[in-house]
């Protein structure tokens, strides 16, 4: 009885050692490859060569064109039909002003940190305990989950903290990423008379505010009268999201072992 269990124990120990020696590394290698692929999608600006970064144009619904360079929107050419008046609102970025999509940068940095963690433990490294592998996997998965969450959950904003409008005083603009979609919301504003006490309720923070949301900015009170929302798909982002999901799975399954 006891000898049998001893043999069993020895076999299990052997298997565990094999797991640490071979299997863990193959999983790590696999992970590393997937992440490298994912990180390649985020066009990394090498210092001094920003201008050589690939420019990508995206057609935003039927309303216009956006140019994305790395993590920044560099050019826009958008026409929006205003409600009520048949006036068409035309947007463009100033040449010196870019719209940085912080979500993309954050996601990229998280992926790179995960890659860095994996690079530190390449084939030559010998794992001694399972706890060590668990700890490493925890750290890698934390970075990956963060990266994905940055893309899947755009930050909600209170209206006054929304990035300021391009030029016109009664329009506010926000660009953000939701999953693999690049979204643009345009709020048409309506200035409330300063003394109205008429149920002024400042809106909380939300990704998308509805018409009727009110807020105060520089002692002026505004009400959102119309909201336009247009979006387009960034194909490389959907690729990356797939990669994240792919890479999280072996990571978690190797952890459970």
């Amino acid at each position: 009885m006891s000898s049998a269990s001893q043999v069993e124990r020895a076999v299990l120990e052997e298997e565990f050692n094999w797991l640490l020696r071979e299997e863990v590394h193959s999983v790590l290698k696999q992970l590393q490859d997937v992440l490298k692929e994912a990180s390649r999608r985020f066009a990394m600006p090498s210092p001094g060569l920003e201008s050589q970064l690939k420019q990508e144009n995206f057609i935003l619904g039927s309303e216009g064109v956006l140019t994305l360079q790395g993590e920044a929107l560099t050019q826009a050419d958008i026409n929006l039909k205003m409600a009520k008046s048949s006036q068409v609102l035309h947007f463009q970025f100033r040449d010196d002003k870019h719209w940085k999509l912080q979500q993309i940068q954050d996601a990229r940095n998280h992926v790179n940190q995960a890659l860095h963690l994996l690079n530190c433990r390449d084939d030559s490294y010998h794992f001694k305990t399972g706890a060590e592998v668990n700890k490493l996997m925890d750290a890698v998965m934390l970075q990956l989950t963060r990266a994905r969450n940055r893309l899947t959950t755009p930050a909600s904003l209170t209206l006054p903290s929304s990035p300021p409008s391009a030029d016109a005083g009664d329009v506010m603009v926000n660009f953000y990423i939701n999953l693999s979609k690049l979204c643009l919301t345009v709020y048409q504003l309506h200035v409330l008379p300063p003394n109205t006490t008429k149920n002024f309720k400042p809106a909380g923070s939300s990704v998308l505010h509805n018409p009727g949301a009110m807020f105060e900015l520089n002692n002026n009170r505004f009400e959102v009268s119309h909201v336009h929302k247009v979006e387009c798909v960034l194909p490389w982002l959907s690729d990356t999201l797939v990669f994240f999901t792919i890479s999280l799975q072996p990571a978690s399954s190797s952890k459970t072992r």
Partner: protein
């Protein structure tokens, strides 16, 4: 809870030190303490003696995720504040002296580094915290309120800041912030007086932005000796830059497969750099890096890669060290005051601190290694204790032939019965009266001679470790009062009869270890209401009906570990949140998966559950989360009970005067004492914290006193009144009458039936309880004995022992301090009171004196409690803890 109630925690740590996998480290300026933060969110304070010993003093609880950085938070010497930040954006400001939490806040972003700096604004000096982390700015926070004042922003290629350093230039009298971004761009911000004064205005843009090709920058430090150079450490190389124009002076690559993780200057011409596996190297800088040398800057522009400067010392870690599960944290500390230590400090995953005293005069001797000055892990310091630190039921868990007692792995306290249920690693469950067992652990007395004391009951059924126990009746009275539920690593959930000790049913529905047992909220369907919810490590959730004795729903196939369970009772939904951010919505009655969502919708669904019923949230991911929730929940319950109690005491005191049958008075739940099990890490055994609610103890004492059939001494307060001022009696009587009316109405209106039932239940439970004892008096006895300052006055001690029946503690008692928002500091058993305590005082003396002079806040709380409790006891008829059996004993 801290604000309104006087609640004193006493900790029973047990023999196993809490897991403390160090993630960050800080040495106080005056070398009086080392502070470490760990991956599980606790902070440990280690006192540092002039001989460089580091006895651990206290552990601070409050963060719910890994500590990412620690920094000092004030400049003056009389008060020592530190700030801590965790991975999920929480920040806390702590007082190092007593472990009080002074301020806390939560931001959406996580900081990876915080630096304290005093900016001079005119004549005033303002403390500021500069934070960098997973965001592209440097945030400047007020060091006392933790509010964001303004931010330092990059105009050119903004990106996360990986490291930062603050320089005070003597030439220009300006404060300069130098930082390196993730992409390797050096950023310089100048903070002038105007900048510091403005608040929430335009962001401050950088003065200079220079690519220096430093990828994966780990640390940046300024040479305080020459004020001329900067050391930038990246994982693959370290570089020295001129602090004036940031030109590269020298660059040294790391060896093959190890990465640098940090470095600092130890003198004008030497640097110390450390690797992720815990080795440190001291290098002498080449003359081109030394401003005093004639060759200074001679190499600018032609620096060769790979020219390694002479290595002076190598400080490797000890060979006998245990295996580490993650890279250790190393810091170099140079004290600018007496005794001018230059210390290299390392904290590792074993909870070990190692210190090297780096000598000023270093000679070239490659062969010798610098000897370690001090090394101590939490476990070692626990092991060195004499007598050992006790756990709550150690006397019942002793294993023959083994030194360590059987570990308690899960526990629940049932205040209504004063009993503690402990599940252990061998699969057995012990039921034991909590005060009795605590008295055994903490105090000396007759009970030490009895074997198997206190009387207890053992439930055997689990094959292996018990992971969770739940007493559903405590959460909701809809459950059977007898049912106790336990889950184990043997995949089973067992239902017990708590009174007979009988095993009622075994559920074997999960394919993994049971990790959590929960109670569904009140407004679920009737079928679900009689269920408990079990969560297992195979990512499945089950609803186990205690009434039908079957599993009515099993939600499995979640791809990732379950992090949170929420409820939408109105829609009959069970909402499962997984660690990858996905959310599964299950229909409880049919067991059908309604939907599975991710991203924004998932967050919204979880939030919507919170809005509906804030009490139904149960986070599972982290023991600290559970603890904090328990704390906040407890406080709510305590507040509610408090309000009830006050009314009822009045009622008792008033009604008792002319109420003949006092047996009809409602009895109150014994929540003067709450025992909370805590773990710092899931793999740790439970440690137990006894929370004494002083007010509740007093109220219970008074209540019981009032119920005693003694007409002359009904209520001490009334009695005093009568004696003091006879003229007041008529008025008082009138007040009494009116109040009596209202209270009667209140109490009787409530639910007479329910009260009746309650009483019946209590009677039943009492008859079935393990032994007859006076719970309140025992609690008071335990409490007073722990708090009394033993050893200060010999005669008083004697009176306390012989006449009052108090007991002397075995060993110094670990007290705690609860501060704002459920933050808590708990003294470790290894704390040292005084530098000279070993010389003069005997063990029994320290026992008492230990509690005083620790910190002002703790002393105040203790004195208040002792005085108020003693006053109450003096007004009682039998103002002694001497039991009947004790009285008979011959007096010596």
């Amino acid at each position: 809870m801290s604000g309104n109630n006087l609640v004193l925690p006493i900790v029973l740590w047990g023999r196993t030190a809490p897991t403390h996998c160090i993630s960050s480290l800080l040495v106080l300026d005056d070398c009086s303490a080392v502070i470490t933060g760990c991956h599980d969110g606790q902070i440990c304070l280690w006192d540092m003696t002039p001989e460089l010993q580091v006895p651990p003093r206290a552990m601070l609880f409050g963060h719910t995720s890994s500590i990412t950085c620690l920094a000092k938070a004030n400049a003056c010497t009389d008060k020592q504040y530190i700030v801590s930040a965790s991975e999920n954006g929480e920040m806390c400001l702590w007082d190092v002296n007593d472990g009080r939490c002074i301020e806390f806040s939560k931001l959406a972003c996580a900081h990876t580094d915080i630096q304290f700096y005093q900016f001079t604004i005119g004549t005033q000096r303002e403390g500021r915290l500069l934070c960098n982390g997973h965001y592209p700015e440097v945030l400047v926070l007020d060091a006392s309120s933790l509010e964001v004042l303004y931010s330092l922003v990059s105009k050119i290629s903004p990106d996360w800041i990986s490291a930062m350093s603050i320089i005070r230039s003597h030439r220009t009298q300006e404060d300069t912030v130098v930082a390196v971004s993730v992409t390797g761009i050096l950023k310089v911000w100048i903070i002038t007086a105007e900048v510091s004064r403005m608040q929430d205005l335009d962001p401050v843009f950088e003065e200079e932005s220079k690519p220096i090709q430093c990828q994966n920058c780990q640390s940046i430090s300024f040479c305080h000796f020459t004020q001329n150079s900067l050391l930038v450490v990246c994982s693959k190389y370290w570089r020295v830059f001129d602090a004036g124009d940031y030109s590269l002076l020298c660059s040294v690559p790391s060896e093959a497969d190890q990465g640098w993780t940090g470095g600092d200057f130890i003198s004008a011409d030497k640097v110390i750099v450390w690797t992720e596996d815990g080795c440190s190297y001291i290098y002498k800088l080449p003359p081109s890096c030394l401003s005093a040398s004639e060759h200074f800057r001679s190499d600018v522009g032609k620096t060769r890669e790979g020219a390694v400067p002479p290595l002076i010392y190598k400080i490797a870690d000890q060979p006998d060290k245990k295996l580490l599960i993650c890279p250790p944290v190393t810091r170099f500390f140079f004290s600018r005051r007496e005794p001018f230590h230059k210390l290299l400090i390392q904290g590792d995953s074993e909870g070990r601190l190692s210190m090297w005293n780096v000598p000023d005069k270093l000679s070239f001797c490659l062969s010798t290694e610098l000897p370690v000055s001090c090394t101590l892990s939490l476990q070692e310091s626990f092991d060195g204790l004499m007598p050992v630190s006790s756990g709550i039921i150690d006397q019942l868990s002793a294993q023959p032939g083994k030194e360590q007692p059987i570990k308690v792995t899960a526990s629940v306290y049932i205040p209504a019965q004063g009993r503690l249920v402990c599940g252990r690693e061998d699969g057995s469950i012990i039921l034991v009266p909590a005060t009795q067992t605590a008295i055994v652990q903490l105090l000396q007395g007759e009970h030490m001679l009895r074997r198997g004391w206190p009387p207890h009951r053992t439930l055997r059924g689990h094959r292996n470790k018990v992971t969770c126990v739940l007493y559903p009746y405590q959460v909701s009275p809809r459950y059977d009062q007898r049912a106790l539920v336990s889950g184990g690593v043997d995949f089973s959930v067992i239902v017990w009869d708590i009174f007979t000790g009988e095993m009622k049913h075994i559920f074997c529905v999960h394919g993994g270890e049971i990790t959590q047992l929960l109670v569904p909220p009140e407004n679920c369907s009737t079928r679900v209401q009689h269920c408990v919810c079990s969560v297992a490590s195979d990512h499945s959730v089950g609803l186990l009906s205690l009434k039908e004795r079957k599993c009515i729903m099993l939600a499995s196939r979640h791809l990732f570990p379950i992090q949170v369970i929420k409820w939408r009772p109105a829609d009959d939904y069970l909402v499962v949140g997984c660690s990858d951010g996905s959310v599964y919505v299950w229909q409880m009655d049919t067991g059908a998966l309604d939907r599975c969502v991710m991203g924004l919708t998932a967050v919204e669904i979880l939030n919507a559950c919170d809005e509906l019923a804030p009490a139904t949230v149960d986070a599972l991911s982290h023991p600290a989360v559970n603890l904090k929730q328990a704390m906040t929940r407890r406080s709510l319950a305590a507040l509610k009970n408090m309000a009830q109690h006050k009314l009822q005491t009045l009622a008792t005191n008033l009604l008792a005067a002319d109420n003949a049958d006092k047996g009809n008075l409602p009895k109150y739940s014994h929540n003067a004492l709450v025992v909370q099990a805590m773990k710092t890490n899931v793999s740790d055994p439970d440690m137990h914290v006894l929370f004494f609610d002083v007010e509740a103890v007093i109220i219970q004492l008074l209540t019981e006193e009032a119920q005693r059939p003694n007409p002359t001494l009904v209520s001490p307060r009334l009695f005093c009144m009568d004696k003091l001022n006879p003229s007041l009696i008529p008025m008082f009587a009138q007040v009494k009458e009116t109040m009596k009316e209202t209270i009667k109405e209140h109490l009787l209106d409530d639910d007479e039936e329910e009260e009746e039932e309650q009483r019946r239940r209590e009677e039943k439970s009492k008859s079935l309880s393990l032994l007859e004892y006076n719970l309140t008096m025992d609690t008071a006895k335990l409490f007073m004995s722990c708090l009394h300052a033993w050893g200060l006055n010999q005669q008083l001690d004697l009176i306390c022992l012989e006449r009052l029946g108090m007991l002397r503690p075995h060993c110094p008692i670990s007290f705690g301090l609860i501060s704002r928002g459920g933050h808590m500091s708990l003294m470790l058993p290894t704390f040292k009171v005084d530098q000279n305590w070993e010389l003069k005082l005997t063990l029994s003396d320290i026992v008492g004196k230990g509690t005083y002079g620790l910190s002002r806040a703790v002393t105040t709380q203790h004195l208040l409690s002792v005085i108020s409790l003693a006053n109450t006891l003096m007004g009682m008829t039998n103002a002694t803890f001497v039991g009947e059996h004790m009285k008979k004993a011959p007096t010596r």
